[in-house]
Symmetry: none
Subunit: 235 residues, 2 copies
C-alpha cells in the first residue's frame, strides 16, 4: 500500500493549482506539495471548487529535496521521451506506474514541472523513474492539470488491488540476483564504471516489467550456468 | 477503425472549451461539435494554446440530434451512476469503452453535459451507452475538460501511439538479441527444453518493461563479454 504525494515544481498559474486540488479530491488523494508556488488567489479557489481543503493543507517548500525527503520512490514526469539523452532512466507510462505501485510500500512522490519548461535534467536525476503520457507528435505537451488528472485516474484503482502476493519476488530474491549479476560482471571484466549502472538497469527493467518470483529464479539459474561454464574454463 | 466526435452539450465556460480543444489535439482527435455554446472569447483561445485550429473548425448546432445524426454509436457521460434509475443503460468505464471501440467501425460520438447539470435523462436516452469515470464518493464530479482528457487518454491507444520512434528498439535489435541469447544458452548447455522458453521469457520482460534501444544494446554488450570469456576458457 502506497501513499501518493503530488509535487508541483514552480507552477506558475494559480488556476492550474486549483484544478489539481480538485482532481486530487475527485480521485481520493490529498497530499499536495508546492515548490516555490505563486501566491494562491481567487483563480485557484475557483478552480478547486469543493477541494479548497486540499489547497489549504498544501505544504510549501523552497527545495524539491525537502519535499521528497521521506519518499521511498520518486517519479518525474516529462512530455519528451528520449530527448534528454543523458538522463538515463526507464520511461514509464501511467498504466505501467500503476503496475509498479501495486507492489510498493511507503511514500511515492510524483513530480510535475513548470508549465513552460517541465523539469530540468538535474531535477529528473533526483527521480527513480521518469513517466511520460504518450501523446500525439503533433502536440506533445499536455496541460499541467490534465497530466495530473490522467495519472491519478490510473492510480485510483491501485488501492483496490488484490494481486496474488506469491507472484512477486520478495526483497531477498532481488538482492541475490543483484549480487549474482555483479559477481558475473566482475568475472567477465565488464567495463568498471558500467558495472553498477548495469545492475541498476537490469533491476529497473525487471521491476518495470513486474517480473515474478519465477522469472527472477529462472534468470538466476542462467547466471549460475554461465558462471559454472566460465569457472570450468579457468581451471 | 472508428472516428471519434466530441460533443459538448451547452458548455458554459469558454475556458473549458479551449482546454478541451488542447487535450483533443494532444491525443490526435479533431472533430469537435458544440451544442448552443457561448461565444468563444479570449479565454478559450488562451486555454487552447496550439489547438486553435480545432476551435475554429468546431461545428455548432442547436440540437444534439443534428450533431449525432451520422453517428454509428453514441456514448453519454455522467458523474452519477445509477442515480437516474429510469435511464436503463449499460454503464461503461473509459477502459471498457476502449475495448468496445476496438471492434467498432464508423463515427462514435461522445456526449458531455453541462458543467453544473450534466446531461438530462432525455439526452441520455439518445445514447447507446452511458460512461462514468470512477471517482471518489467524497467528490464525484470531475471538471469537464478533465473528463474529456481522461477518456481521450484511454482512447488514444486505440488509434495507436507514435511516441519517439528512436527510443524504442526496432525488430532487428530484438532478433539479434534473441539469436545472441540462444547461442549463449547452447554454449553453457542450458537445459534443452528450457532454451526457447527462456528466450521467450526474456523477450516478454523487455517488451513489458518498454526497454529502449539503448538498453537492448547494453544487454547485447554483456552477452558478448560473457561469450568472449567462455571462448577464452575453451581455447
Amino acid at each position: 500500500m502506497t501513499h501518493i504525494r503530488i509535487v508541483l515544481v514552480e507552477p506558475r498559474y494559480t488556476g492550474n493549482i486549483g484544478s489539481i486540488a480538485r482532481i486530487m479530491k475527485n480521485f481520493g488523494f490529498d497530499d499536495l506539495a508546492l515548490i516555490n508556488p505563486p501566491v494562491l488567489d481567487i483563480d485557484s479557489i475557483k478552480m478547486a471548487m469543493h477541494a479548497s481543503d486540499i489547497l489549504e493543507s498544501a505544504k510549501i517548500y523552497d527545495k524539491i529535496k525537502d519535499a521528497i525527503d521521506e519518499s521511498d520512490y520518486v517519479v518525474g514526469t516529462t512530455s519528451v521521451v528520449g530527448g534528454r539523452s543523458y538522463v538515463r532512466k526507464l520511461y514509464l507510462t501511467p498504466d505501467r506506474l500503476k503496475m509498479i505501485l501495486k507492489d510498493k510500500e511507503g511514500i511515492v512522490s510524483i513530480l510535475f514541472g513548470r508549465e513552460d519548461n517541465g523539469l530540468s535534467n538535474e531535477e529528473l536525476k533526483l527521480c527513480d523513474a521518469v513517466l511520460n503520457i504518450p501523446s500525439s507528435s503533433d502536440y506533445l505537451a499536455l496541460n499541467l492539470a490534465q497530466s495530473v488528472g490522467i495519472i491519478l485516474y490510473e492510480l485510483y484503482s491501485v488501492e483496490k488491488n488484490d494481486t496474488d502476493k506469491d507472484y512477486f519476488p520478495d526483497k531477498d530474491d532481488l538482492i541475490y540476483l543483484e549480487d549474482h549479476l555483479l559477481r558475473l560482471l566482475y568475472k567477465i571484466n565488464f567495463p568498471k564504471i558500467d558495472k553498477e549502472k548495469t545492475v541498476l538497469m537490469i533491476k529497473r527493467i525487471l521491476e518495470t516489467a513486474g517480473a515474478g518470483r519465477n522469472e527472477i529464479q529462472h534468470i538466476r539459474g542462467i547466471l549460475s550456468a554461465i558462471e559454472k561454464k566460465i569457472d570450468e574454463g579457468m581451471r
